[in-house]
Symmetry: C2
Subunit: 392 residues, 2 copies
């Protein structure tokens, strides 16, 4: 089977049916995301960012793959749940609620807001619902308003030695393209410029050519636990956001630079002993506080596949294709579970399952289907020019 | 070598010299706790609860083992650092500061306060310093004042489905004995009664005979991530606090009940496949959100050794002695590091080091020396009656 077909088939005949069959809360709306290896619901709490992510996924599939009414209905169920139960009176999004929407964890996490905005935007594209569209816009501006102090009064860090995190500028670089139809073009360009600058000039460390997870407010490295932290999956994911922006803006240099960073991070974070990409690394090789540092996580590997596929599609750099095949081989032989559907999420360093959950507090219907879709589309392009090459 | 001598020698000739040699900050006062396998400082941030714990350890050794001036000086250095830099204006304790005492992380964690109070109390016992004694008392009452909302405005849980945690009543049951010389006897009795009730009547689940980490405010079990969480090390540690109280109050029934709970928890949490005690368990066997659930941690095994030694000392129940030897064998062959000093902290499920740190953000000069001391003393008693038995 061609790679593109493998990704397409897995998306349409394995992953999406898994979530359709097991995650829909027909009583309260929204989705159950705590699903065991077979898809059985083991907990009913609703994590708002996973609600947003799943509503986005089904809206995106409706918009890009097939105008399937059933998919749109599923998306609607999540969008309605988030609108009705996910927001506080100031337009901030709770981290979690009970199955019927009573707030459990306060809005301390701005990524709940980010994925709500993405869901609203994709859904309004599908339905041309002006109210949802304006909710997307409103949520986006609320995120920008909070961006320098995203945790509000839940922030425990003092101002003695502040650090800024990579996650928000990284998400913004993707969010702004997602919201392109909702926002004013000037605003889109402003946020693209801001996030590309932050990602490629501030968090990208020039000498090593890799991304740091935290830097000082003026962009310097700091020799502290957080200052030394590398999150390879984050860095690589951000690079495919950069490639998307590079392609949009016809900025070949950005695509090339991002491709090199992907390769740098992979060289740096591949586990030569057991295979797979480490979850966290200390840049100076010092002992880490993250006890899960050596684990192999599904999203890290899927984001790497998307990044490598896009990099190869747009640069035809053979090294990216070699890496693609290496990561593909590891990921499909360790995470995929065709017998039960969806992918496993968490492996130990040796590649054995640490948990057999298919969904939980942090894993939902998002990374697997998004990566399957993105790889499918990139691989179609790749297979086209690979054939051309062979013919030549 | 007799067991008691092994523990005594390791305390006095390995563990304490390790911290004396590597952790003292002669410039700013207080202690470096981020030490690598050989004791080299890899980070200089100061975590207030580890400052409190080390000041307590050296004060306790001075009070109970030897009136060594050097130990008292080391204790003073930590006590002074905490007083000068660890407290905010309301008497709450920061989570961490820079090496020279500038606040880094706000006082969101009440356990910083608990270990400061313990340090103040032990140190004032050594020096008869009335000011420190009253600081111990003041800190204790501040803890009680905050006990129903320990995180203050950093609490992210709503009131929809509140849970109360086991950690605080558990710590209180030990803290109150530590502060016995500082507090009014009526207050001591009140807190003993409160904490014994919470631990043995509320958090102890009757049917299984094990401790749950969270229950509802009216003491019921809840079927949620936190409601299903078991923390075997916590449960076992609390049981030796109960035995201490039982011995103090000549309450044989409490000692016997606590002994049974230790055995129950060990049966429940021992890893039959690779040996060692799991870090976390889901009571219903559902997938867990704690990615570190299967790891083997130094303190869990040391607290188990203390608990089993005390249980055997006071009940002479042979089953506790069998378990003692099993845990002893695992712990000494996996965590101890006589070549470099101190114990390793974090092993993977298979028992291989996940990190080679000797100290960090959560591991300092506390569990190893405290357990060495407690086991040494209990084992001396045990060896006495074991000889008597043999002679008979």
């Amino acid at each position: 089977m061609k790679y593109s077909e493998l990704y397409k088939n897995t998306l349409l005949n394995d992953v999406i049916p898994f979530w359709q069959k097991h995650s829909i809360d027909t009583e309260n709306g929204g989705y159950f995301t705590c699903l065991d290896i077979k898809g059985q619901v083991y907990d009913k709490d609703k994590f708002i960012w996973l609600q947003g992510r799943q509503a986005w996924t089904f809206s995106m599939l409706y918009n890009k793959v097939d105008n399937n009414k059933n998919w749109l209905e599923i998306a609607k169920s999540g969008v309605d749940f988030i609108r009705q139960h996910g927001m506080d009176k100031d337009g901030n999004f709770y981290f979690s609620t009970t199955e019927n929407g009573k707030p459990l964890i306060q809005p301390y996490n701005i990524f709940s807001d980010c994925f709500a905005a993405m869901a609203f935007s994709q859904y309004s594209k599908a339905t041309e619902d002006e109210e949802i569209k304006s909710l997307a816009k409103q949520t986006y501006y609320n995120i920008l308003k909070k961006k320098d102090a995203p945790k509000g009064h839940y922030e425990k860090q003092t101002n003695t030695r502040p650090l800024k995190g990579f996650a928000l500028p990284m998400i913004l670089s993707n969010l702004v393209l997602e919201l392109e139809d909702v926002l004013d073009p000037i605003e889109v360009q402003r946020t693209i410029d801001y996030s590309v600058h932050e990602v490629m000039e501030v968090f990208l460390q020039k000498e090593l050519g890799i991304i740091y997870e935290f830097v000082t407010p003026d962009g310097k490295l700091e020799d502290s636990f957080n200052g030394r932290l590398l999150n390879p999956g984050h860095g690589i994911e951000a690079m495919w956001f950069m490639i998307d922006i590079g392609v949009r803006n016809k900025n070949k240099d950005l695509v090339k630079k991002a491709t090199q960073v992907i390769l740098n991070i992979l060289e740096y974070s591949w586990d030569e002993q057991h295979g797979g990409i480490f979850y966290f690394i200390d840049a100076k090789g010092k002992p880490m506080q993250q006890l899960e540092w050596d684990q192999k996580l599904w999203w890290v590997h899927l984001e790497s596949l998307v990044a490598l596929a896009k990099a190869y599609e747009h640069t035809q750099d053979e090294k990216t294709w070699e890496w693609y095949q290496k990561v593909h081989k590891y990921a499909w032989s360790h995470f995929s579970d065709p017998e039960n559907g969806e992918w496993l999420g968490y492996l130990n360093r040796q590649g054995k399952p640490l948990s057999t959950l298919k969904g939980g507090k942090w894993k939902g219907c998002f990374h697997v289907p998004r990566a399957m879709y993105q790889c499918w589309k990139s691989l179609e392009q790749i297979e086209r020019f690979q054939i051309t090459k062979k013919v030549k």
